[in-house]
């Protein structure tokens, strides 16, 4: 049954979630933007470009990729929005991240349901790389 309580709850949850996400996205965004104004990001780009190239991504895509796996999607988004990535790159990165993100937390959940968290995490990472590679090839 719908009521005003439904909308109030939805709004409340929306604002709460927004706040929780903001606490992650904004600091990450500011940090990555800061790095852009230093030689550090260029260094990261040069170092990661060869591997990222396998997935049709530029070196700087390594930042959202790592953040998304170690932290969560919102950290990845925070980094992503600060970097000049082409729509095609964003899509490939999106697929890779959607398959493999928040590995620490989500593997723990898998672990508690009886499936080895480490195996699940490794599998998702591997699947992510495979799909990124494949998508880059086919698209």
């Amino acid at each position: 049954m719908l009521s005003t309580a439904t909308f109030k709850r939805g709004l409340h949850k929306g604002l709460f979630t927004l706040w929780e996400m903001t606490k992650i996205v904004i600091p990450v965004y500011v940090a990555v933007t800061f790095l852009k104004y230093t030689p550090v990001l260029d260094w990261i780009i040069k170092a990661c470009a060869p591997v990222m190239g396998l997935f049709g991504l530029s070196g700087e895509a390594a930042v959202p990729l790592v953040l998304g796996n170690v932290l969560n999607l919102y950290a990845a988004i925070g980094a992503l929005t600060s970097l000049p990535l082409a729509p095609r790159e964003i899509t490939i990165l999106a697929i890779m991240l959607l398959i493999s993100h928040n590995l620490l937390v989500e593997s723990a959940v898998s672990g508690r349901t009886g499936v080895n968290g480490l195996v699940m995490g490794g599998f998702r990472l591997g699947l992510s790389f495979f799909c990124g590679f494949l998508l880059n090839l086919l698209w």
């Binding site: 939805g10 709004l11 979630t17 996400m21 500011v30 929005t81 999106a94 928040n102 959940v109 499936v115």
Partner: protein, 169 residues
């Protein structure tokens, strides 16, 4: 170090980010809440259960799958863990649900988020779904999974052992 330029970009970009997230998160949460109150999840579950026989999944596996598919693993964690602990779902089914969800979960929120930053919606939604279906189907069909499932009383092969496991399948 161009401090002014950095500060300007950080501020403008930061606000833009918050606005972009708000435009997605608030409507999504509203829709999910409406869905909850209209008990849409139950209806979807009833609808989806027969389709899951494609993977040889039991009816009990339907609910955690649907929750994870729509809400995501983090939100759906409670449901999924509870389903595991209740012992009503076989280890095989749990594995397949995990597999499907790892390829494709939280389709509402995650998809909307990436569309907002410029990803191609067809690929990230359709591609993921297709991947999940194909992967889960293939694994459900191989002898490998059947060989993994212990025939003795419920005990997951690896990972945490749920308390109070139920009778064997």
């Amino acid at each position: 170090m161009q401090w002014e330029a950095f500060a300007g970009e950080a501020l403008r970009g930061g606000l833009h980010n918050i606005w972009m997230m708000a435009r997605i998160i608030i409507p999504v949460m509203l829709v999910l809440e409406i869905g909850r109150d209209l008990r849409i999840l139950d209806r979807i579950t009833v609808f989806v259960a027969p389709a899951l026989r494609f993977f040889g999944l039991s009816r009990q596996a339907t609910f955690p799958l649907v929750v994870g598919f729509i809400f995501g693993i983090a939100y759906g964690a409670g449901v999924i863990i509870e389903a595991a602990r209740s012992g009503k779902i076989s280890w095989r089914d749990l594995f397949l649900v995990n597999l499907f969800l790892s390829a494709c979960h939280a389709i509402v929120e995650d998809t909307a988020l990436f569309i907002a930053v410029g990803a191609n919606p067809w690929i990230i939604l359709g591609g993921r779904f297709l991947l999940a279906v194909v992967l889960t189907y293939l694994v459900s069909r191989t002898g490998w999974l059947a060989a993994q499932t212990p025939r003795s009383p419920q005990a997951p092969r690896t990972g945490a052992k749920p308390a109070g496991t139920g009778p064997p399948d």
